[in-house]
């Protein structure tokens, strides 16, 4: 492609060829929350995408967990959640063990003291009439940014409910931060 007269190559905006689509599409713009016990996102899971990515930045006032529940038409499902996970500190790696038939999925653990942590949660098939899967990774800091703790959760909501949204709640205290939801493109 030539550079038009009067322009440098850095000033040329090149068109994206037809058929080239973004692989990760933002379906819920970055949304801030402040000093809340929970936050909801409804109408984010659609038939347009099969799998989704949720990115969360959070800071909690208490040493607590952030838990995820799925929603359909603004009604929260409170049963049939199953998960396992891990936590690694500087000295120990520990399994959560099996949590079966729970009321929610542990999405992230928080260190309290309003120290910022991050969570990335991949959600599988929420709009398909089968189990909905979760694979999440969480970085938290316990009181100091020099003490990172690695955590992760794998689990599911074992029903055929077709979900369109979710709610994240803190098991104690309040949380402040932001979240963004993306859909994974499923066609080339």
């Amino acid at each position: 492609m030539g550079v038009p007269s009067g322009y440098t190559s850095a000033q040329v905006v090149q068109a994206v060829p037809t058929g080239i689509a973004s692989a990760l599409v933002c379906v819920k713009a970055e949304t801030a929350f402040s000093a809340v016990s929970s936050f909801t996102a409804d109408g984010v899971f659609t038939s347009s995408y099969t799998n989704y990515l949720i990115l969360i930045k959070f800071a909690n006032t208490s040493d607590a967990s952030l838990n995820l529940q799925f929603r359909a038409a603004t009604t929260t499902t409170t049963t049939n959640y199953n998960y396992n996970g891990y936590q690694m500190t500087s000295t120990a790696a520990q399994s959560y063990g099996y949590y079966v038939s729970q009321s929610s999925l542990k999405l992230a653990q928080t260190g309290g003291s309003s120290v910022i942590g991050y969570c990335e949660a991949n959600i599988y098939s929420p709009q398909i009439a089968e189990q909905t899967g979760l694979i999440a990774t969480n970085l938290r800091f316990d009181g100091s940014y020099a003490a990172p703790v690695a955590q992760g959760t794998t689990g599911n909501q074992n029903s055929s409910t077709q979900f369109d949204g979710f709610i994240v709640s803190t098991s104690a205290g309040t949380t402040t931060g932001s979240y963004t939801v993306y859909g994974y493109a499923k066609t080339v």
Binding site: T31, F33, S34, A35, V36, S37, S38, F39, T40, A41, D42, G43, S65, N67, T76, T78, Y96, G97, Y99, Q102, S103, S104, S169, S171, A172, T174
Partner: protein, 67 residues
């Protein structure tokens, strides 16, 4: 005290029903966490008792089991 919820980007007080559900859920999560911790402790205690019975240390058990 009314708890706050960010409802699809809008922060507001929880309704009475929402707050009751949230507090019931918090109590349930706490109960589940205690039960899980107790189950882990029971398993660890049984493991320690078995190691004592076998006369080997935790490190030696890990060498044997490869874990």
């Amino acid at each position: 005290m009314a708890l706050k919820i960010n409802d699809n980007g809008v922060t507001r007080n929880m309704t009475t029903d929402e707050q009751a559900a949230h507090e019931a859920w918090q109590a349930e999560v706490a109960t589940q966490a205690v039960a899980q911790a107790e189950a882990v402790a029971v398993k660890a205690s049984a493991r320690a008792a078995l190691l004592t019975k076998l006369g080997i240390t935790e490190a030696e058990a890990q060498l044997l089991l490869g874990s």
